[in-house]
């Protein structure tokens, strides 16, 4: 459906720096919801704008539906208005001089061949109903709330029934509550109209909740592509691990490889001994980062049986989260976050033992 190959472009970041897209490559299948995820300035918006035709890549090719829309080598650049796309901008870009109806009708009014007024009317009302804005058709666009502007922008992007929908941080200008609601609506809507979607965001929960597949970007390059489960469970770099969840990082040195399937890691500052499954690049003597998520730690107030894969620490802080408490536990010079059931009523300064599930740990050689 959408194929981006060897895309390179230098661009200016929001804070005034220079950066470059470096050999960005990905492919989106028909009907797929694909997210570009990364911190600000990583090049995700520039990638999206190259796909939209608003920016010209320095290098590489982009094709939509087997049609090459940009090929820097061949000098092909199909302008934005000749690409079959719909786009929602971060600022929504609702035209202040047109009312809601006319904003949405615009793509139909400028297309060739001309459509008759009745058909335009029917289609605009249809798509306004789709985004629950049918009552606001005659409303002036300058008096819309953020959420309403977002719906209008979405309706305008969908009305041409484009083959590709581009969303540039569409939820980032909304407040928290509204953002969650719009996230659900967006996901329902995209499913219902079954449109191929490229979604740019810096918010990992949005990407995890909405996307079929995610490409994590950093400094102008794609770091990892995968389904939300793959990225969450099997991050390939510590950057992906830290960006996708509230991961804990422990560091230590691999001392030995035991048998065929496990290795031993001595954590820094006498933090303890971990016995973990072997990974592909396990080498004794090398330093490793061990990533473990809060939900994969078990917290107890008495020493558990074996002393392997157990960390001892003092509770520094307890954050009540409703169904569970998040404890910050001081272990050998670092702070580890762990989840305990609210009912267990642990307190600050208490000594606790954290048992690690070795199957759930991820290991990266330290850089």
């Amino acid at each position: 459906m959408l194929k981006v190959a060897q895309l390179s472009k230098s661009f200016a970041t929001a804070d005034g720096g220079q950066c470059a897209l470096n050999q960005v490559e990905f492919e989106i299948h028909d009907g797929e919801f694909f997210a570009l995820l990364g911190p600000s300035g990583c090049g995700k918006t520039t990638t999206l704008r190259c796909v939209a035709g608003l920016e010209q890549p320095d290098n590489g090719t982009i094709s939509i539906r087997e049609q090459v829309v940009a090929d820097a080598g061949e000098g092909v650049h199909i302008p934005a208005h000749e690409r079959e796309i719909g786009m929602v901008f971060q600022s929504y870009a609702i035209w202040p001089h047109l009312n809601v109806f006319e904003n949405v009708a615009y793509p139909l009014r400028v297309c060739r061949p001309r459509l008759n007024a009745v058909e335009i009317d029917t289609r605009v009302r249809e798509v306004l109903t789709l985004v629950s804005m049918e009552e606001f058709a005659e409303r002036a666009s300058t008096v819309l709330s953020g959420g309403q502007q977002q719906r209008v922008a979405l309706a305008r992007a969908l009305i041409r029934q484009p083959s590709l929908l581009l969303l540039d941080e569409p939820l980032s200008n909304l407040d928290t509550r509204l953002r969650q609601q719009m996230q659900h609506e967006l996901s329902d809507l995209v499913e219902r109209v079954a449109i191929t979607t490229l979604y740019v965001t810096h918010d990992q929960t949005e990407a995890l909740a909405l996307a079929d597949r995610i490409a994590v970007m950093r400094d102008g390059a794609i770091v990892q592509i995968g389904t939300p489960e793959e990225l969450y469970e099997r991050p390939q770099t510590s950057f992906v691990a830290s960006f996708l969840g509230r991961a804990n990082f422990l560091s230590g040195r691999m001392t030995e490889i035991e048998g065929e399937d496990s290795s031993v890691i001595m954590l820094d500052a006498d933090g303890g001994r971990l016995r973990l499954p072997l990974v592909e690049d396990s080498v004794p003597g090398v330093r490793y980062d061990v990533v473990i998520k809060p939900e994969d730690l078990t917290c107890s107030r008495t020493p558990p049986g074996p002393d392997e894969n157990v960390l001892v620490g003092i509770i520094e802080r307890v954050n009540f989260q409703g169904s569970y408490c998040e404890c910050h536990v001081r272990v050998a010079g670092t702070t580890i976050r762990a989840q305990v059931p609210s009912a267990s009523s642990v307190g600050v300064s208490e000594r606790v033992w954290l048992t690690i599930n070795p199957e759930r740990c991820t290991l990266f050689a330290s850089r």
Partner: protein, 574 residues
Amino acid sequence: MGLSRGSGLGCSGLFVVGAAIVTAVYLVSAPLLMLVVTAFRGPDDFLPFEPDAEWTLEHLRTIYYDPVLYQVTIPDTLTFVIGSVVCTFVIAFSLAWLVERTDLPWRNVLFTLILFPLLVPTIVLAIAWIYLFGPNAGWVNVALRSLLGLSGDGPLDVFTMPGLIACQSVALVPFVFLLMSATLRTMSPALEEASSTSGASPWTTFRRVTLPVLRPGMLAPLILTALITLEQFEMPLLVGLPARINVFSTRIFYELNPDTGLPIYGRAAAVALPFLVIGLLLLGVYNRLIREADRYVTVTGRGYRPRRLPLGQWRWPAFTAAVAYVGVTGILPAIVLIWISLYGYGMPSLGSWPEVSLEAYRNVINDPVFIGATLNTLMVAGASAALVVVLGAVIGWVLARTRMPGRAILDVVSFASVGIPSVIAGLAAMLLYLTLPVALYGTVWVLVLTYSYRLAVTTRMSRVGLMQMHTELEEASAVSGGRWLTTLRRVIFPLLAPTLVSGFVLLFIIGVREFTLAMILGSPDNLVLSVLLWRFFEDGSASEASAVASLIILLVVPVIFVLRRLVAPKAEYG
């Protein structure tokens, strides 16, 4: 009295606010009231409150039964205003669009050069244009005649309606350019990009999105240009009168300085009345447009700088046109003035190089009148700018932060100054201070007070500045034990400082440029540079006039750099 929500102003605070309000209302409305009264008081050469003056409709009858008004003054004024507005607008929009929205080379340098004439008194421009395009000895005409083998006068004549319109437009372009660049800069590029991604071609986008979105932001400067053109006095006086073009500002001046006899104050006031009404009506329209334009300002997405339109093969032709414009309107006038000040009023020719002489500068600088005029200029411009900045800040605070009854009136009064033509302001001040039993008339102080009627600029700037500043910053000072005056001095003024400084610079420039008010209220004791320059010019002392003009340019050039820092587009991000 509901002046402040929550925190009390205290006695001293109330006094400061009260004094500011009274001063502001006085500065704007007292002269105008006097003007209105004068229009109905006679006989002819009497001031309205002289012992034997009485109520009369004689002035209105004389002025409005006179066919000259309908056959000359009104048509000339209309032609002048409409012609200048159209020319100014077309030129200013083209330049602003090139500089702000396209990849024109050297656009930052051009931005500064286009603004250059904004700093120079209009009278300097008028004189330079006459030296360049005068039908007989104007440089350009002499050059054209020898080039084309013509004889006699011409071929160009500045002393015609088209000449007047051209001069006026060029004088106004920088200001309008400044307003339009601001509008073009604040327009979110996403609005146009959204049109592209909706399938509209660039031309359709320009027609259906760019133009309609910009409309209120462009119409407001259009109305303002009409207002400013209406009150112009310098060009009509220097270029219009020799061409027998009579606009309303020169007509008022004529009633005050008739060929024979004494000034007829009542008639001048009678001419002024309808133009005052027109000015205020235009102001009302302008105000409405500004509000609409503000509603059109949309949220700009972070991070993306506006994409500039690639001009392609038009890049260098457009650059050449812009450079030619800057050359003819900014650089050529400066060259002709400096040349004449050094070599006298002769066309430079290859055959006979005249000798350079600093005599004109020596004459001017050794003339105590020049020193006095320089000091007066700096004094009047500085003092009135300071007064207006302080008044504007306090009034702006009252408007932005309080629910005081009568705020609306204060708002109208402070903003009205934009709609009051300066000829009328000068006339009204003249009537007021001739009547009041204080010895102000003829001193520099009358100029300080009269210049200070321009409250609108700083009030508006302070108000916008305050609205962007969170109220809690002031409340934090109050709960820390600061009285209102302390808060004003230690929190509000420092936070508003950048706004106040730009306001001061702007008003100082306006003060240095001012000619109309100083001319009408002029006396030997309060002579300022612009009036002195006019006198040299009228006496035919071309070298001295040019020397004074060059010195004024020298005085304002450093200001360019200050102004550039304050108003120039901030790199690419803004």
